[in-house]
Amino acid sequence: MVSQDLFAQLRGVVVRRRGKAVLGPIDLDLSGGGFTVVLGPNGAGKTTFLRVLHGVERITSGSVTWSEPAKTAQQGQAYVFQSPIMLRRSVRANLAYPLQLLGLPKTEIAARVVHWAARIGLSAAMDFPAPRLSGGEQQKLALARALIRLPDTLFLDEPCANLDGRSTREIEEILREATQAGARIIMTTHDLGQARRLADRVLFLNNGQVEEQGAADNFFTAPKSPGATGFLNGDIIE
């Protein structure tokens, strides 16, 4: 169940690598459903931020608190990586894998696998080895594999970075359906057009700090920080 209320709190979160602070300190309240898009120049710390939220990045100091206990929270989350990670198995087996981990009954697994394979247009390729799919097909498969668990929160790290227009459109459709079904989506992207199309809320990251956050319309029409203004202008941010 996703509410419009607060779902995560970050307090004093700092991530250091090799002595250098790559992220933080960050104090942030996250609330609401729909699309939260994380924007920022390269190296701003977007991926690290996402991984921190998902709990797969070690925090040097500070805390991330979810509205549910940490274990249940992570079980209700799914993550799609920028480069899709395919299991060296068939399409069918890739889709079934997360459900097998949960110990769902075979009939349930089979039903969901068939449904999602059809949704991403790979019904005819069920037994095809996943690593041999095209880039776009792999990313769609990764997305379906993430959504097959019906997560509350879906993280995506630049999901369409290496894809053509058609695959991008198909993926954005699936994402919209997911939010309509009740999932909240937190994603990073380089593509300002995509951000404009999808975002309900924007977080602007620069140099490891959250420089701006707020409703999408406000951000795109009237950015407050110089970094954000420059970024929207297409300037190089250092």
Binding site: V56, F81, L87, R88, R89, P98, P129
Partner: protein
């Protein structure tokens, strides 16, 4: 050179006539080495996989030790196992010395580090591919090991075959702990050693060719098994 031809002829004759002794020692060779392979794999495959995914303080040291153990001279292993299993030794009361069981024990000790090391290399690669995904999906350690072993099974097969090759061609350790007793612990390699010592090179070579053929057949059998899986999946 003529002796090599004589050896091949001898091998052919032995097989053609279905020589009873040959069949007996061949079956025993397979029994000992395959048993050792199964036991060693049961230990080494999970161990190598576990080492690939687990981070702990002395990990580098353990891996280095494992790689070093691959170089254990088999005859030294045989000597140590003999001293342990001897009636005057700690485990003498088990009465295992000069039986096929002792040979299996020695070979397990010899091939486990080899299989574990190859497994570790292969699983490390696969783990670096799967790492982010499996962590993201909240997998337990057991689930990770199972997934890696399942998806890496082709490389693991190679590791197992390497172990088998080492075992079936081994002679130093099993000579000491088995005693090369006729009809009890004589296998192809120890028989070759015996016949060479008697100066009967033709027979020794003949047995040698049988051993090579056996090893090839096992390799081919396993590879063809994995390929039939291939047609279905890949």
């Amino acid at each position: 050179m003529s002796e090599i031809w004589a050896g091949m002829a001898e091998a052919f004759l032995l097989i053609w006539s279905r020589d009873a002794d040959l069949i007996e020692i061949t079956l025993r060779s397979l029994q000992v080495s395959l048993s050792a392979l199964v036991i060693a794999s049961a230990v080494a495959l999970p161990l190598g996989t576990w080492l690939a995914i687990r981070r702990f303080r002395h990990r580098r040291f353990v891996i280095a030790t494992l790689n070093a153990l691959m170089g254990l001279p088999p005859v030294v292993v045989g000597l140590i196992v003999y001293l342990l299993l001897s009636r005057s030794g700690p485990f003498g009361v088990l009465g295992l010395l000069f039986t096929p069981a002792a040979m299996i024990i020695a070979q397990v000790i010899i091939i486990t580090p080899l299989i574990a090391s190859i497994t570790h290399q292969a699983m490390r690669e696969l783990w670096s591919d799967y790492h982010d995904l499996l962590i993201s999906l909240n997998t337990t350690h057991g689930q990770r090991i199972a997934t890696l072993i399942l998806d890496g099974r082709r490389t693991l097969m190679t590791a197992a075959l390497a172990g088998f090759g080492r075992a079936i061609g081994e002679v130093g350790a099993i000579m000491i702990v088995g005693g090369n007793i006729d009809h009890v612990t004589r296998v192809l390699t120890t028989a070759i050693s015996l016949e060479t010592g008697k100066g009967d090179f033709a027979l020794a070579l003949g047995l040698g060719f049988v051993l090579i053929a056996l090893s090839l057949m096992v390799n081919l059998a396993i590879h063809s098994l994995s390929r039939t899986e291939r047609e279905g999946r890949w």
